[in-house]
């Protein structure tokens, strides 16, 4: 279905609504439900693996006062490379390693995307805990591990959780690139729609991605509010925005 020329916005939106209303677009391996499942799977996987890779080492390094700006700068090199380039670059590597096309280049690119902000924020979150507070805690007889777990991490939690939330939303948006290297996910509607010049499908895909991103933002924001003590909540304002 080719989009008509001219600026018939109402007609176009009607077409989009009709697209969503058609059950054929929801079911089957290339339907909305399956693509949504794929997209969520990679988002959860990439976000949690990134969190595992990033948060613990960052928190530990900051606690021990090792590294400083050098470490943060090193990790942020990953951020300078556009995700599109990483996905495409990882494709031949993934093939050579026998990991196939599609999932692995996308997943690796998403790690590159999510690890730097989580690492940076975890590091600065712990490193910027009031040194007097740390001093006092040690003075009270806390061991290093106790200082880390009972003082530094709770103090840093707003910043860390905010970073996870922001990274998750970025992952959702960027996972659309996987469609370029043979993966599925919601990006398929955008890429396949574009290939046949079907702007309705492209737009619907974009709506789905944006919708998922917003819902994730709201849910994780709610989790943050529950987990972070009220007195610390203003710290989450310090999260640096992840560049697009």
């Amino acid at each position: 279905m080719v989009a008509t020329e001219g600026c018939d916005v109402i007609g176009f939106l009607g077409g989009v609504l009709a697209w969503f209303g058609d059950p054929a677009n929801w079911l089957g391996p290339s339907g909305i439900l399956n693509r949504l499942r794929e997209h969520l799977q990679i988002t959860v996987a990439a976000t949690s693996v990134s969190a595992l890779l990033a948060i613990a080492p960052a928190v530990w390094l900051a606690h021990r006062r090792i590294g400083g700006t050098f470490v943060v700068a090193l990790v942020n090199i990953g951020r300078a490379i556009p995700s599109f380039a990483i996905v495409v670059l990882f494709l031949p590597i993934s093939i050579r390693l026998g990991l196939g096309i599609g999932f692995w280049p996308t997943f690796l690119a998403l790690l590159f995307l999510a690890v730097p902000p989580m690492f940076t924020n975890s590091y600065t979150g712990v490193a910027e805990v009031d040194p007097d507070l740390v001093e006092t805690s040690r003075g009270m007889g806390m061991t290093g591990m106790e200082v880390l777990t009972k003082v530094e991490m709770p103090m840093a939690s707003p910043v860390i959780l905010a970073a996870v939330r922001v990274a998750a939303v970025q992952v959702i948006a960027t996972a659309t690139l996987g469609a370029i290297v043979g993966w599925g996910g919601l990006g398929r509607f955008i890429v396949d729609g574009f290939a046949i010049q079907d702007n309705v499908t492209v737009f619907a895909g974009a709506v789905l991605v944006a919708g998922l991103a917003i819902i994730t933002e709201v849910i994780l924001g709610g989790v943050e509010r529950r987990v972070v003590p009220a007195t610390l909540r203003s710290r989450s304002e310090q999260v640096e925005t992840v560049p697009a």
Partner: protein
């Protein structure tokens, strides 16, 4: 005093600007032909970009002003661009182009060409003489698959209806010479269609990794031989004649006349399927620069000096 200084600066700026404009504005070497710049486009796969490069260099060697916009996209993107004037010339495949315009193509080259020429003339596009070289959609399996399933022709796949995965470019399910034709003409059904690329590295990797069992590749691709894939025989004649022909906007052919068409004909006449396959191999397998490959070939066939 201030006025004189201001005028000097203004004058110097204008002179500098004029110098730059003159230096950048003028065309190439001597013998530059006056007329509209020819914007040459191509589809987003290496063979088409290579043929576009052949035409571009052949025209440039005669003194025409050429601008390249290669790898624009698939036909759904470059054909409207050609019709709207954003592109002036694209290398087309007569069978698929005719189908795109709503006509009926056949395995007969002359018939298909005549019908295409007539259909596109109405939209101001002049399809010039076609080359012997053809590049059709081909369905391939790996050697291992061919042996384990015992398939050599496309119709052999019917025995495995519903069990095999087909991979191809995202537009394949909409295309008469792709999935639509496999279903309609051959009565095939696949377990799944995976949208990949147009017979490129993603499709090759998917075949080798057994993520798809049947893949769409172009019959003139060097990869089929290099990877020892088996090209299934199109026994029911689904694929039409797909000779390469330059599709040019009429304003360009009218502005430049016969000499223009003859320049392109010199290239087309020498472009056989065998030549095309070897050129593709140099670019796709040996990794050579398409510009160099094009230049070398044009020199070898005597089109350029």
């Amino acid at each position: 005093m201030r006025n004189i200084r201001r005028r000097t600066i203004a004058g110097a700026a204008i002179a500098a600007f004029a110098l730059i404009a003159a230096a950048c504005g003028s065309g190439g070497d001597g013998g530059t032909i006056d007329g509209p710049t020819i914007t040459i486009g191509s589809a987003n796969f290496s063979e088409n970009a290579l043929v576009a490069e052949l035409y571009a260099q052949a025209l440039e060697s005669e003194g025409y002003q050429v601008e390249r916009k290669l790898n624009v996209g698939n036909r759904e993107i470059y054909a409207p661009a050609l019709e709207s004037g954003e592109l002036d010339l694209v290398p087309e495949y007569i069978g698929s182009a005719l189908t795109y315009l709503g006509g009926t193509s056949s395995p007969d080259s002359d018939e298909t060409y005549a019908a295409l020429k007539a259909a596109w003339e109405a939209k101001g596009i002049n399809v010039l003489d076609y080359a012997p070289a053809q590049d059709k959609n081909g369905f391939v399996v790996t050697r291992a698959t061919a042996e384990s399933l015992g398939v050599a022709k496309v119709s052999d796949l019917a025995a495995y209806n519903g069990t095999l995965v087909l991979g191809g470019p995202p537009e394949c399910p909409e295309r008469a010479f792709c999935l639509k034709g496999l279903e309609g003409v051959y009565g095939l059904t696949f377990q799944e269609f995976r949208p990949l690329d147009a017979g490129g590295p993603i499709t090759v990797a998917a075949l080798e990794g057994d993520e798809i069992q049947v893949g769409l590749m172009f019959t003139s691709a060097g990869t089929i031989l290099a990877k020892d894939f088996v090209l299934l025989d199109d026994d029911k004649g689904l694929q039409p004649a797909e000779n390469l022909a330059p599709a040019v906007r009429s304003e360009i052919t009218e502005a430049y006349g016969d000499k223009f068409s003859e320049t392109l004909k010199k290239v087309s006449d020498k472009l056989t399927t065998a030549e095309l396959i070897s050129l593709n191999k140099l670019v796709e397998i040996d990794g050579q620069d398409p510009e160099t490959v094009a230049a070398d070939w044009l020199k070898a066939i005597g089109v350029t000096g």
